[in-house]
């Protein structure tokens, strides 16, 4: 039996807050052997990041380890002094973080920061510090490493910053690297290359790694073993394939079910008890009589914000009545601009937007609130935390469009309409009097949807409505949106970076790259037989969940 590299036993962490002490970890047990990759997965609030910070002893002032033990290379480091910790961190035990740009010092060059790490552990030879830094940049496969040495973080892309971060972390040849959500916030294609790099470095150097992620797909693809965390406890751990093939704990089951696989349908995602809320629905027959105009038609729409490139460059597509269209692209592809154009919050430079046979691009966005079409086109925004007025209760938020667009005054009529919208969005009535900060992410998303459906629109634009939500919440919200479409015949425009999610909800797909349409067609056929190279790359990079698909280089 080999000795564990890292062993965490019954680790307890509490935070002192203004409302008293909050226990973040209730006794965690995990262990890791040399060269092994452990995935810690869980949704927000599960304590996975706290675990990693506690192991590194990087908890902020409010956090305290109140019990248990952390043993690294046979030494108890739970109560190690600052000097001992300092020698350990960055050399034997290293860490990378999410949001790499913020994790780098903005006013020091890449070279200085790498050299700082080497110098801190006495690994620096004065004569060729620059060569050492350069070698590290080469090791992380950064393009044009010589030029990057003198660059500042703000001059690098997010992916490049993460590479620099990795270069710093591996500078002193650590035996364990903790990666805390290393790809969150990066584009899918960048995510893919960063993970490949990490796996490669790990294999070359025989380093152990702890990958902390909310993304089951990512964990399944890159980890030997998985620990599932919920509310400060490890509820289940085991070999990746075995764990995901036959999850034992109910939470793991729910999480696995909610993570979309290549083959899953919306009905697969939510657990049966939640799905029962929604009565089985029969798909309404789609009315596609010849001669009726499409619900929405974009004709050569162009929008630029004054830069050298156009944000939206000659985009045309249609959505039939009651149809659903997915708009897919990475950040900067112009998909959010497009959704605001269609919602008539901003004006196109050229081209036409036709709603139900009537051109709506002629009315300037400034005056569109007076148009009778205003209530027909509604939008649900990306981040539920940011899309509700902090000073409005849920009721006021939902009533807002009714007051403005239908002139409803406070009274029974308004009450009825708000309650109806809340019911359609699956929002419990007792939450209507709450303010946004008193609601969970999923509940806020429902308020946002209720507000959008309250004026009974005919087209609903969904701008990444689930991007900020945990998978289990995402599953429920997706089902809700699908039901709205089937029962009420609302046309949907679903904007997302996640092809796999779009596939489940939408009939048709439009793939955008740098403001241009690269591919359109029925979602199933694009998903199975992508034509454009960019679409193929997107599809490959999507870390959809597949317990069979592991890409550990050392086993290859």
């Amino acid at each position: 039996m080999t000795q564990d590299l890292l062993r965490v036993e019954n680790l307890q962490v509490t935070f002192s807050t203004r409302h008293g002490t909050v226990t973040a970890l209730h006794g965690i047990d995990i262990a890791l052997k040399a060269g092994e990759t452990l995935g810690i997965v869980g949704e927000s609030g599960s304590g996975k990041s706290v675990t990693s910070l506690a192991v590194m002893r990087l908890l902020d002032r409010a956090g305290r380890i109140t019990g248990g033990r952390v043993t690294f290379e046979g030494r108890d480091i739970t109560h190690a002094g600052h000097a001992d910790l300092r020698r350990l961190r960055g050399s034997a035990l290293s860490m990378i973080f999410q949001n790499p740009r913020a994790a780098l010092n903005p006013i020091r060059t890449v070279e200085q920061q790498i050299v700082d790490v080497l110098a801190a552990h006495g690994k620096l030879s004065r004569a060729n510090a620059r060569t050492q830094a350069l070698d590290l940049l080469r090791a992380v496969l950064i393009r044009d490493p010589e030029a990057r040495l003198s660059a500042y973080p703000h001059e690098l892309s997010g992916g490049m910053c993460q590479r620099v971060m990795i270069a710093m972390a591996i500078a002193c040849e650590p035996v364990l690297l903790i990666a805390d959500e290393p790809t969150t916030g990066l584009d899918v294609t960048t995510q893919q290359t960063v993970m490949e790099l990490l796996a490669r470095i790990q294999a070359e150097r025989g380093m152990a790694m702890i990958l902390i992620t909310h993304d089951l797909g990512l964990a399944a693809r890159w980890c030997d073993r998985i620990a599932v965390m919920e509310a400060g406890r490890v509820v289940e751990q085991g070999e990746t394939v075995a764990l995901f093939e036959a999850p034992a704990h109910p939470y793991t089951k729910r999480l696995v079910a909610a993570s979309p696989t290549r083959a899953s349908t919306l009905a697969d995602l939510a657990p049966p008890d939640l799905a029962r809320d929604a009565p089985p629905v029969v798909a309404a027959p789609r009315e596609r009589k010849p001669g009726t105009p499409p619900l929405l038609e974009l004709v050569h729409v162009v929008k630029s914000f004054g830069g050298p490139t156009r944000a939206v460059d000659d985009v045309s597509f249609q959505i039939p009545r009651g149809g659903s269209l997915g708009l897919v692209g990475e950040s900067g592809s112009g998909k959010s601009t497009l959704s605001r154009l269609i919602c008539r919050l901003i004006d196109p430079d050229d081209g036409d937007i036709v709603f139900d046979g009537e051109s709506i691009a002629r009315t300037p966005a400034r005056e569109f609130h007076l148009s009778p079409r205003r209530r027909d086109i509604q939008i649900v925004f990306q981040d539920p935390n940011d899309s509700l007025n902090p000073r409005y209760t849920a009721f006021d938020s939902i009533a807002h469009p009714l007051r403005r667009l239908e002139g409803l005054r406070d009274g029974p009529a308004l009450q009825t309409r708000v309650r109806e919208a809340a019911r359609r969005a699956g929002l419990p009535m007792d939450l209507l009097e709450r303010f946004p900060h008193q609601l969970s992410g999923g509940q806020k998303a429902r308020v946002g949807i209720a507000r959008a459906v309250a004026p009974r629109p005919r087209l609903l634009i969904l701008d990444e409505p689930t991007a900020a939500l945990d998978v289990s919440v995402q599953a429920v919200i997706l089902q809700l949106l699908d039901r709205l479409r089937r029962e009420d015949g609302i046309g949907l425009l679903f904007v997302s970076h996640d092809l796999n999610v779009v596939r489940m909800l939408c009939d048709d797909l439009v793939v955008l790259q740098a403001g241009k349409v690269v591919e359109t067609g029925p979602s199933q056929s694009i998903f199975q037989r992508p034509q454009a190279a960019y679409t193929r790359m997107l599809l490959d990079a999507v870390p959809y969940f597949d317990p069979q698909r592991t890409e550990l280089l050392k086993t290859a």
């Binding site: 203004r18 409302h19 902020d60 940011d386 007025n389 000073r391 667009l405 946002g448």
Partner: protein, 288 residues
Amino acid sequence: MSDLVLNGSSTGRHIVYVLRSNPVTALAATGTLLLVLIAILAPVLAPYDPVASNVPQALQPPSWSHLAGTDQLGRDILSRIIWAARLDLVIAVSAVSLSFVTGAVIGGFCGYRGGRLDRWVGRFVDVLMAFPLFVLAMAMVAALGNRVENIVIATAVINLPFYIRFARAEVNVRRNAGWVEAARACGDSHLSVVLRVLLPNVLPAMAVQISLNLGWAILNAAGLSFIGLGVTAPTPEWGIMVAEGARFITTGKWWLVAMPGLALMLTVLCFNLLGDGLRDILDPRMRT
């Protein structure tokens, strides 16, 4: 920390929490209230006539009959301080409310609209703020005439850039928030977004600024009258009282300066502490 979901509590409980854990704020609030009462009840509270001179009693140190001593004309300093509270508070409150309203509206619209107008206003405000504002106020009072109204106007003008800048910044960070765009999708015009959606969200934070600026306004007004602008001689005003007492400081008559100075200090202190406390109540993260 991000992994912890802290449950929000109601505003009322939060206020009670802040006041209890921060008794200084409670004290400042009481002090401010007291100050306002003193100003209102000046005729009742002042033991002597603030302008009646009594030369035989001149330059008396604090005693039981004259708690804060007497000045070079034998006037009771305490009575003068009490009456001065009235004038100084009126000047500060009217100046600050004038600049608050104007600044909120201008700043709100600029911050929301953005673009060239906003850049110009922003640059102008930056220039104005970095310019020696006291010199500006001095020149204005001199130009408009040595009257109390003009002190109010000058103080309002030099406060204005702070409010414009503050409202602009606060609106600017929110203008792209989902709920602002949502309001437009809900049928609000741009005008209505600024006035009915954005400004109500920004006002609480600006209220904190009011409290902090009141202190600053009082200091400015007192400074102006100290150098002989604005309020004229017999009128009881803290700045003038200090200016008149300055002649006697080298001969050790400290109370002529210290007493009105203390009144100024305590007033400004109350406003500032109250402002800091209000900031804690509104946003504990902003505590500095």
